[in-house]
């Protein structure tokens, strides 16, 4: 079994490489055009370089206070140091570079290598990447650094529908092509992937993020099959960026030592992301929508949905640019986020009633950016969540105040 899977892996990789080198020869040679896409976020972090050291390091910290309540029960005030993330990068030898991101959450209780990959630059249209890769599904997974966002919470669709921050051991290719102001980026990777926990977890719902608990995915695939993730993104400075991505494969353990345990069950995720700015007013729109399809055994529970959908939309309006205290180029924004997740799109077999399992949230925000690298944020979040049977939703709300900063 092992042999065939490596074999198919190689064939897929080879096919992708062939396709991409065909692209690469057709590219426009205006390499120098600067057009950064979400996929470039890992390169665009502010790094500290000390003298002539070949290694650059950096990171960011996020902390906030939260005052929350649900259904009339006041949960009181608490303080959260959500995460400390460290980046390290280096260029060693011609056309070879290394990038990494390590995240400490829950006070160091949870340490995740979110990204640790080597890039081999062949030309701008063709780079080879291997290591621990962030699967480019949607945009948030690639571009999730706290200081880039006006909101303290990560979008629900990114954390509870898609598994941000989702990374895996794997290999693949990426590159960019430029033509008349347009940038086209592509990424294609084969990595290890999901496992049975996406339909067997304490969330009691199909939950892709459940596989994040399985750290063995950095060592071996749970089922000897690889997960394909591919993304195409197109950007024009005038219109903004639009991305299409797909992630799919067999998620379950279907055989062991040559014995069949179950039939192969597939998972497919489709996502669209976009960001754009109205130049005249400076208003920015950032959004992402994703569709998940999972083959759940018929003899299993309907709580584990076969179809899911969700997304978010952020609207950000700068209202003041200028001096705030000691900062000369500070910006104050007002912003709003809409979150929606439907973990289970369908009807209850026995009654034909709608399956709930939905969340809707609205978060108005004010942010102060003293510099580009730091943001102070005040958010109010109101959310309604419905259970599987679609009983009257549980309402909750929270005040949050905090900061996020690169260092």
């Amino acid at each position: 079994m092992m042999k065939t899977s490596i074999y198919t892996f190689k064939i897929k990789l080879f096919a992708i490489a062939l396709l991409m080198s065909a692209f690469a020869t057709a590219q426009d040679n205006s390499d120098s055009t600067i057009a950064s896409l979400n996929m470039d976020a890992v390169y665009e972090r502010p790094f500290i370089t000390q003298g002539k050291l070949p290694v650059a390091i950096g990171g960011y910290l996020e902390a906030n206070m939260i005052y929350a309540g649900e259904e009339g029960v006041n949960e009181g005030l608490s303080f959260q140091a959500r995460r400390l993330t460290m980046f390290m990068s280096s260029s060693f030898g011609k056309n070879l570079s290394f990038l990494s991101e390590i995240e400490f959450e829950e006070g160091g209780h949870e340490i995740n290598i979110e990204f640790a990959a080597m890039d081999w630059y062949i030309n701008s249209g063709l780079k080879f990447r291997g290591g621990i890769i962030m699967n480019p599904i949607g945009a948030f997974n690639q571009n999730h650094d706290g200081p880039n966002w006006e909101f303290i919470e990560r979008p629900n669709s990114a954390t509870q529908l898609l598994p941000a921050t989702w990374s895996n051991a794997g290999f693949g290719l990426h590159g960019k092509f430029f033509k008349k102001g347009w940038t086209l980026g592509y990424e294609a990777y084969l990595t290890n992937g999901f496992d049975n926990s996406i339909i067997d977890n304490e969330e009691h719902k199909t939950f892709l993020a459940a596989s994040k608990d399985n750290s063995e995915r950095f060592e071996e695939s749970s089922n000897g099959k690889s997960l394909f993730t591919g993304k195409l993104a197109l950007k024009h400075p005038k219109y903004g960026e639009l991305g299409f991505s797909y992630m799919g494969g067999v998620y379950n353990k279907f055989e062991e030592e040559g014995l069949t345990l179950d039939q192969e069950r597939s998972l497919s995720v489709y996502a669209i992301d976009f960001n754009t700015e109205i130049k005249r007013t400076g208003t920015r729109f950032i959004g992402e929508f994703a569709w998940v399809e999972v083959d759940v055994p018929d003899t299993y529970l309907q709580e584990y949905g076969e179809r899911q959908f969700g997304g978010f939309l952020d609207i950000i309006q700068p209202v003041y640019t200028g001096k705030v205290m000691d900062w000369n180029k500070a910006v104050i924004n007002i912003a709003a986020r809409f979150d929606y997740v439907d973990w289970n799109d369908g009807t209850i077999i026995e009654t034909g009633g709608n399956i709930g399992d939905e969340l809707i949230a609205f978060t108005p925000a004010i942010s102060l950016r003293p510099t580009k690298q730091t943001v102070f944020r005040a958010n109010y979040r109101y959310q309604i969540q419905n259970d599987f049977l679609d009983n009257p939703g549980a309402k909750s709300a929270a005040w949050m105040l905090g900061f996020s900063t690169y260092f």
């Binding site: 649900e70 029960v73 304490e202 209850i348 026995e350 009633g353 909750s396 005040w399």
Partner: protein, 388 residues
């Protein structure tokens, strides 16, 4: 900064208000000690715990947690109906070797769910609300016997019998337990086949979720005894929790329609079975001891006529006999059933009126009295039931 914190804290008004206490089914009863409140919280957590393959779920099962059937401690939904099968008379279950008495109709990946054997008599059951059970548990056997009238000596057409059943070794008898030829009076479950809460809970873990325990060690899938898949203390937390979930309290009790409906409820004979008030005996939990409460049940078995004969039976009940369900919380249960009513043991009735109109057998008189009420009076009776 501190100003902002103050601002946030003073913004309590912007946090969502919840439903008032008497509009919710779940929650602790008042008058619990700190220790009992702690146990309540632990049990509440155990009640919501989701069983996964790793924790011993199945391999065949009906649902993965208590609360997925008893959502918000409320009544169950047809999506989680369970099927009992294999017994149609007092000769016992003839299908135990074929997976009886309960169908585990779901399975973890890689296993086949159980299928109903051909020819097996069966009944479909929906979960009842799990509220006020501590009070029901603390009513003495003597009180139940006093309400029963198995040979209808008073000639009102309503008999009502206590369920004499054989009980497993692990259950402890309640104070003042009465014995009859080695059998004891059981009171929980649709056919009153479970003696007390511990009995019901151990069975539920085993038959509904596929979790073995020191009390019920036989794995329903293999039929073999296996190591306990749940810590015993967790079962006790579940029992403590269920004993101290509050009983629903009446809302709108002074509304004239509700008051008129209550009067009708008593006069047309509903109260012969749906006993408005019961009093508990001694309980070590002070909040449950010697208390008068209003469940609208007599905890006895009654024959509701041929349309309630599903072919299956268990415990001491005949096929068409069912234990009177408490009517408390009736106005609140549909908010745990996805907004619709699914009443009676299998959820066949979609409104309170439909539930009443299907009553036959011993409740024939009460039903025909109901039919002869004016539309206004019927409305008043329903208003009363919805206020419970």
């Amino acid at each position: 900064m501190s100003l902002l914190v103050l601002g946030m804290v003073s913004c309590e008004k912007v946090l969502p208000g919840g439903p008032v206490d008497n509009e919710l089914l779940d929650g602790p009863m008042s008058g619990l000690t700190i220790e009992q409140q702690n146990l309540f919280l632990k049990g509440d957590e155990a009640f919501g715990e989701i069983y996964t393959v790793e924790k011993g779920l199945g391999p065949t099962f009906v649902a993965t947690s208590c609360s997925s059937c008893h959502t918000g401690d409320g009544k169950g939904h047809p999506n989680k109906a369970l099927i009992r099968f294999g017994q149609s008379d007092h000769t016992g279950n003839q299908f135990l070797h074929l997976g009886g008495p309960q169908l585990q109709n779901r399975s973890i990946p890689g296993y086949a769910p159980e299928e109903l054997p051909a020819g097996a008599p069966q009944a479909k059951l929906l979960a009842p609300a799990t509220v006020g059970l501590g009070l029901l548990d603390a009513v003495s056997d003597e009180t139940l016997i006093a309400m029963s009238d198995p040979s209808d000596l008073n000639n009102d057409g309503v008999s009502g019998k206590v369920a004499w059943t054989e009980i497993p070794d692990y259950v402890q008898l309640r104070p003042g337990a009465i014995e009859n030829e080695g059998k004891y009076i059981s009171r929980f479950g649709k056919k009153a086949a479970a003696y007390n809460i511990l009995h019901q809970v151990s069975k539920a873990l085993n038959q509904d979720i596929g979790i073995t325990s020191v009390y019920e060690p036989i794995d329903p899938y293999s039929g073999m005894e296996i190591d306990p898949e749940i810590e015993t203390v967790k079962i006790h937390h579940l029992v403590s929790y269920l004993k101290t979930v509050k009983a629903p309290t009446q809302r709108d009790e002074n509304n004239p329609d509700v008051l008129a409906g209550e009067e009708l409820f008593n006069t047309i004979g509903c109260a012969n079975c749906h006993m408005p008030s019961l009093t508990t005996g001694y309980s070590p939990i002070a909040a449950l001891s010697e208390k008068t409460f209003h469940p609208y049940t007599d905890l006895l078995l009654h024959d509701l006529g041929p349309s309630f004969d599903d072919g299956y039976t268990e415990g001491a009940a005949e096929r068409s006999e069912w234990r009177t369900p408490p009517l408390w919380g009736l106005g609140l249960v549909k908010d745990a059933q996805g907004g619709d009513y699914y009443l009676l043991h299998d959820g066949r009735a979609h409104s309170i009126e439909e539930a009443i109109q299907s009553h036959g057998g011993e409740a024939e008189n009460a039903n025909s009295n109901f039919s002869s009420l004016s539309e206004e009076e019927k409305g008043q009776l329903i208003s009363f039931l919805e206020s419970l």
